[in-house]
């Protein structure tokens, strides 16, 4: 039957509706309306919440709370979110960025979800009505949880400690071959003291490059210094194969692009 849309003024009210079979949450529509257009008849109703609180951006004390309905465009133009802008700008083209939301990006399956890759590196937390959880927990439970994401909390990194790269075949914008986000702390002499590295397209959802992170500790960001980290880049990855690139290709180029990002 035709797709039904239900709009609620609060997440609490929407929760019950979302439990129904065939119900999907509607953020910007870039994934869900697309699926319906493409003939996914398992989607019978769309649930959305127009609470303006979900579109709020609140910056305080070096942290930002991004409402789940905040769009990529809103992040990209926010004067206090310059550190996040490269990742937000990497999503889609201008129109997609007006529509695509933070919440939606968290649920986007690879090859999409570039902003979520950045959030993973930044150790963000994900907020639902049930509480706040580390983003890793969110990704682990993503397929089964029916909780509506209401916000994401993230500590804003210093410019020099956060790097982000999206690689696509089509320039300037295209679907990801892969994306990499790296949050690195370094001592005065340049050695890496902590590393969080997130990868996109190396699994069906963003993942941490744990072996790479470990191999970077105590190293300098020079070609020799990062060699062990690059050698470990493939550990634990199961890249996707899709019309953009094969798993083989993604695995082959990952250390190349990771190396460029670390040396940039």
């Amino acid at each position: 039957m035709s797709l039904a849309l239900q709009t609620f003024s609060s997440v609490k009210d929407a929760n019950a509706a979302l439990q129904g079979a065939g119900a999907r949450y509607l953020g910007g529509g870039t994934l869900v309306v697309r699926a319906a257009n493409e003939g996914d008849v398992s989607i019978s109703s769309l649930i959305r919440v127009d609470d303006p609180g979900l579109s709020q951006i609140a910056v305080s004390g070096g942290k930002v709370r991004l409402g789940a309905s905040v769009t990529m465009a809103a992040i990209a133009r926010h004067h206090e979110l310059a550190a996040l802008a490269p990742a937000a700008r990497a999503v889609g083209g201008p129109a997609i960025r007006n529509m695509a939301t933070v919440g939606g990006n968290l649920f986007a399956p690879a090859p999409y979800g570039d902003f979520a890759v950045a959030l993973l590196a930044l150790d963000a937390t994900v907020v639902t009505e049930g509480g706040e959880m580390p983003i890793e927990t969110f990704f682990a439970d993503r397929d089964t949880s029916r909780a509506i994401v209401t916000a994401v909390n993230v500590t804003l990194p210093k410019a020099e400690s956060f790097r982000f790269l999206k690689v696509s075949r089509v320039k300037p914008k295209g679907v990801s071959v892969l994306s990499i986000a790296a949050l690195l702390q370094r001592a005065a002499d340049g050695t890496v003291t902590s590393a969080r590295i997130a990868l996109g397209c190396m699994a069906d959802r963003p993942m941490r490059a744990l072996a790479t992170e470990k191999a970077l500790l105590g190293c300098k960001l020079t070609p020799q210094g990062i060699a062990p980290a690059l050698a470990a880049a493939g550990e634990g990855i199961a890249p996707i194969t899709d019309p953009i690139a094969s798993a083989w290709y993604r695995a082959e180029v990952l250390p190349v692009h990771l190396g460029r990002l670390l040396l940039s």
Partner: protein, 160 residues
Amino acid sequence: MAKVPIQFTLNGSEKAEFVESGTTLLNALRDKIGDTSPKGGCHQGTCGACSVIIDGELWLSCLTLAETCGGAAIKTTAGLAEGGVLHPLQRAFLDAFATQCGFCTPGMIMAAKVLLDRTPNPSRDDVVEALSGNICRCTGYEPIIQAVLTAARANSQNAT
């Protein structure tokens, strides 16, 4: 089959209709209201041929539900020329041979218009970025980029 009301202004003119719930804005504009200038090239948000302007922002009508546009001010390429006088962008596209099969053209013009409304003096990189959500399979993009830069120059000349 459930019908829902849709209501918005289209190119300055008030529209109110009933459509099947879940109808995309693209289909509502084309099939119900009769504005066929936005095109359905992919219905997945990748080609940009369905681009429209909603409240001054570039939007993909194929991924937008018509019933969520209540009260919005929507613009399409069909409404650009005023009183039969072509918009500078339309004139520039003609002069630069920036349209061949024409299917991407309405969407390109929408994306270019949003750019020029915000950035009257765009650099080439600005233009490329602004058009990065629109696919053209005929022109190779260069004539389109030149058309937008030419229209920007014409605008700035007229402004002085």
